[in-house]
Every structure is written in structure tokens, then in C-alpha cells.
């Protein structure tokens, strides 16, 4: 059915409230028939979507809530500053904190220059083509390698082949390989955020590409790069599987004296206490406490990075 001129005028002759044309069109009928259902479907679905988001949001808080509830009582000065005692059923977790800090920092010190340089190549030098595509594929796949496989690789390459043994340095190198894609990704984002006009201005003044990168692009993207470094650091600090075979041990009474020493680490300590400790039930509060310390460390770094990054983004807008 077509709306014709006649229908229109019919519709208008009656002033006041809108009057439906006598010859209601097929579409109008269909719209009216399904109208209530359409609205209902939309409401039900949108509520479901909102619910999904709520579940996701809640998951984080529920986990944190349980860790706080059961772990907070374990956190004392002694817990943070003492070494484990009496087969790890008493005492503190200082060696684990130190070990995790050293692992994370070491990994970043190694991965940051490589990651930043890779990102500079990808974003500033590389031209679209097979080489760029291959490198990207390599990075994506490296990001997808399971952490336990990194552990195997670290064991076979650093520990055995390069004869570094189960040590801090083997762990750092393994974690560096693992966090490399994270750093490349966030550095690229930081470089992309630098407006091209900066580059053009510098090149237009006769600077070479490298001079432009070094003096203009890098300083402008430094905050973004550092954010990425923090994210990479937190990722490395939280990993367990890669250090199981390469760096961490159940127990060592001393803090590491050299990079070739074995170490204790927070994530591994949680795993050990929770699954293989001498008295799993009795050390529960220590497990919660250790988990709480690890969460605080990792989420603290992440939150700082997120806040920092959103500030940078706002500034760039």
C-alpha cells in the first residue's frame, strides 16, 4: 500500500489529535503489532548486557574482598620484613618480596630497550610490506605463547644451554622474553599518539629521522612508554609458571647475593604454601597474606599505569 496524496489530506482534515489514516499501511500495522514486543526484547537484552558487565566488575571485587578478609590479619611488620621460619609455617616473606621485585625489575631492564627499539622500528621506519607483516606476526605469536612454554624455553636455553643455572638472571631473561610483546604494544601506542605535525616540523627544519625521533618523538611519548614499562613489570612480577623451572625455589634462607643465586618469589610462594607446604591448613592465613601482598603490588602498579595513561590521553585530546 502506498501513501497517496488523498490519504495525506484525509489525515489532515481532522485537526487536533492525530488520527490514523483509514487505510492503514502494511508497515504501520506491522510496526504496531510488534511494537510492545520489540521494546520488551530490547529491555530484557539490555538488562542482560548490563548484568554481564556487573558480573565482570564484581569478579574483581569478590576476589579482592576474600583476600582482604582472610589475609589482612596476616600482614604485620614482621610478615613483611622477616624471613620464613619453621618450615615456612611462621615468619615472614621478605625474600619473596625481594625476589619478585628483582625479577620484575631485571626483566624490564632487559626488555624495555629491546621493546622500545622494536616499536620505533615498526612505527617510524618500517614500510608496509612482507617484512613488517612478518615481524608483527612474530610479535603477536610471541604474545600468545603460553607462559609455561616460556618456562620450558628458559629451562632449556638459559638454565641448561647457556649454563646460567636456576638463578635470578635466568628468571629475568625468561620474563623479559614474555613481557616483550606487552612493551612493544604500549610503546607503539605511545608513538602513534605523537602528532605527525611534530615529526614534519622537525624534518622540515633539516633534522634527520633519527634526530627527529630522539629529540622530538621520544620525549613526547616518554610518559606512554613508561606506562607500558610499568604494565610489563607488573605482568612479569605476577607470573609463576615461567619462573618455576628457571629461578624460583621452595625455600632459601638468604636474600640473593648475586644474579646467579636461586631466589624465592611471591607467586611461587603462594603456590608452594597452598599445594605442597608442610601444613597447608595451618599456613592458610600466610597464603592469603602473601596473595594480598602480590595483589597489592600488581594492582597498585596497574592502577598507577591506568591513571597515568588516561591523563596522557586527556592531555593529547
Amino acid at each position: 500500500m502506498d501513501i497517496t496524496k488523498d490519504q495525506y489530506s484525509e489525515e489532515h482534515q481532522s485537526a487536533g489529535k492525530p488520527v490514523k489514516p483509514k487505510n492503514i499501511s502494511v508497515i504501520q500495522k506491522a510496526v504496531e503489532a510488534r511494537h510492545r514486543r520489540r521494546k520488551l526484547v530490547e529491555q530484557v537484552l539490555f538488562t542482560t548486557f548490563r548484568g554481564a558487565a556487573v558480573i565482570n566488575g564484581l569478579a574483581l571485587f569478590i576476589i579482592i574482598f576474600f583476600m582482604l578478609k582472610n589475609g589482612l590479619s596476616a600482614i604485620t611488620w614482621e610478615f613483611l620484613s622477616d624471613v620464613p621460619r619453621e618450615s615456612m609455617t611462621k615468619g615472614g616473606i621478605l625474600p619473596c618480596i625481594v625476589g619478585t621485585a628483582l625479577l620484575g625489575l631485571g626483566a624490564i631492564v632487559i626488555a624495555l630497550p629491546i621493546g622500545v627499539a622494536s616499536a620505533i622500528y615498526l612505527n617510524e621506519y618500517a614500510k608496509p610490506g612482507l617484512i613488517l607483516r612478518t615481524i608483527r606476526l612474530g610479535i603477536n605469536n610471541l604474545a600468545g605463547v603460553p607462559s609455561v612454554v616460556f618456562g620450558l624455553f628458559g629451562l632449556a636455553f638459559f638454565v641448561t644451554y647457556l649454563k646460567m643455572g636456576v638463578s635470578l638472571v635466568s628468571g629475568c631473561l625468561t620474563l623479559a622474553a614474555l613481557s616483550l610483546p606487552v612493551i612493544i604494544g604500549s610503546t607503539e601506542e605511545a608513538l602513534k599518539a605523537v602528532p605527525d605535525t611534530y615529526r614534519e616540523a622537525s624534518l622540515g627544519l633539516g633534522a634527520t629521522k633519527w634526530q627527529t625521533i630522539y629529540r622530538v618523538v621520544l620525549p613526547a611519548s616518554l610518559p606512554g612508554i613508561l606506562t607500558g614499562a610499568i604494565l610489563g613489570l607488573s605482568r612479569a612480577a605476577g607470573e609463576t609458571a615461567p619462573i618455576m623451572f628457571t629461578a624460583a625455589v621452595f625455600f632459601t634462607p638468604d636474600l640473593p647475593g648475586s644474579i646467579f643465586d636461586e631466589i624465592m618469589a611471591l607467586p611461587y610462594h603462594i603456590y608452594v604454601l597452598a599445594t605442597a607446604g608442610t601444613n597447608i591448613e595451618a599456613t592458610r592465613h600466610l597464603q592469603y597474606g602473601t596473595a594480598l601482598v602480590l595483589i597489592a603490588l600488581v594492582l597498585g602498579m596497574n592502577m598507577a599505569a591506568i591513571v597515568w595513561r588516561s591523563r596522557i590521553r586527556k592531555k593529547l585530546k
Binding site: D2, I3, K5, Y8, H12, A15, V26, Q28, A30, V31
Partner: protein, 253 residues
Amino acid sequence: MSPKPKMTSSNLDFYYGDFQALQDVNLEFHERQVTALIGPSGCGKSTYIRCLNRMNDLIPISRVEGRILLDDEDIYEPSLDVVMLRRRVGMVFQKPNPFPKSIFENTAYGLRVNGVKDKGFIQNRVEESLKRAALWDEVKDRLDDTALGLSGGQQQRLCIARALAVEPEVLLMDEPASALDPIATQKIEELIHELKELYTIIIVTHSMQQAARVSDMTAFFYMGKLIEFGDTDTMFTRPKLKQTEDYITGRFG
């Protein structure tokens, strides 16, 4: 002139947050007429046309004051369903925006979402709409091909066909030819001429010539205000206000 306008806006104000984009706009649109909205960019003409089918609802911080009537019904009435409104007030956008679907499915989209199931009806309506949009002869052998393979002008005519398929009463066109070449533009203009027999058409354009060619009435906007509104011929030959004359003759600064 027909006694009763199809659409009316009275005392319309529009805000983006704190910024007032439209100020006290009073306009009437009549059936079987083309009304052109002209004015320099940023004058509020696009904002205005998007108020007429409540497309601005999508902007979270926006606010409307005043009234817009469609056949005596206030379209900003809370009880009014915006989905129903948009079926009656169709819109064609500046950039052709066909869906990544076939030509047929693009045209049938509005019918399908509005719940029309009758296959024969859809078939007929698609053909009819494409014919009315002067596209049928060019696409009738490839209705199942993707719409993204069409030229820009064809895509825009497809978007018009798509809008016509749901039997709108008013057709809003937001610079429908600004992304097209002169030949495609001419086709669209001819089309507007034919379509005005059936629909109330409101078109935003930045081209003075286009406004003069296609419209019966012209409204000149400047800085969010309606400056002058009247018969297109009169507006272009004997504008009442100096400001309008300056803009139309290109002495605007």
C-alpha cells in the same frame, strides 16, 4: 499554500552541554514542498535537521527546548516512541552509508526491522522503492551483490530507496550530494524533484545553486539562529535582510 503544515518547530533551542547551538527557531514545513536549509558551516542547519527525527538523542549531553510538531503531535513528548517517529521521518545522510549487505537487503532493512514478514510485499516494495529512487534499472540484475560495490552516487540513491521503503511522510536530507560528483548530484536533484510529489522534503545544503534549483522554500541560518525564511525565488532575488543577501551573493565574511 496548504493550510496546515506537516511539521512545525516553535521556539526551538538546542544545547550541546553549555553551548547553545540553536536559538529560538520557528519554522513550518508544508507537504509537497522542498525546504532548503542554508547557511555557513557551523550555523546550526545540520543540528536543526537532526532535531526533526531526534537523531540528536544519540548525543548524551544534548538538550532540546521548545516544540516540534509532526501532524500536531509533539515529537519530544516523553510518551512518543522515537522508533515510530523515525519510521515516519526518514533521513538521508551526508556520506552514503549503505550497510555491508546486499542491495536487496539494504532496501528491505527498514521493512524487516519493522516486522514485515510478507515476502511478496517486501519484494514489491524493494522494487518500487528502487524505481522511485531511480536506481532500479542500474541494479535490477544484481540485487544480491553487496551494496559496497556501487558507485558513490548509486550508494546515495540506494540510501534514499532504503528510506522510502518504510513509507516515510517526511524526508530529511543532510547535504545528500556533498560527497558526490556533479553528474551524480544532478541525478539526486532530479530525484528530489520527483519525490516532492509524495513527501515533505527538508534538505540541508551548502550549495546556493542547489538550494535555488531544488527548493520551494529556503531558510537561512546563521550562528544558530534562523535569519530569514521565505519563498526560494524571493529569497534569491529580493532577500529582505542584508545578511541574507551577503551570504547568497557570496560576500559573506
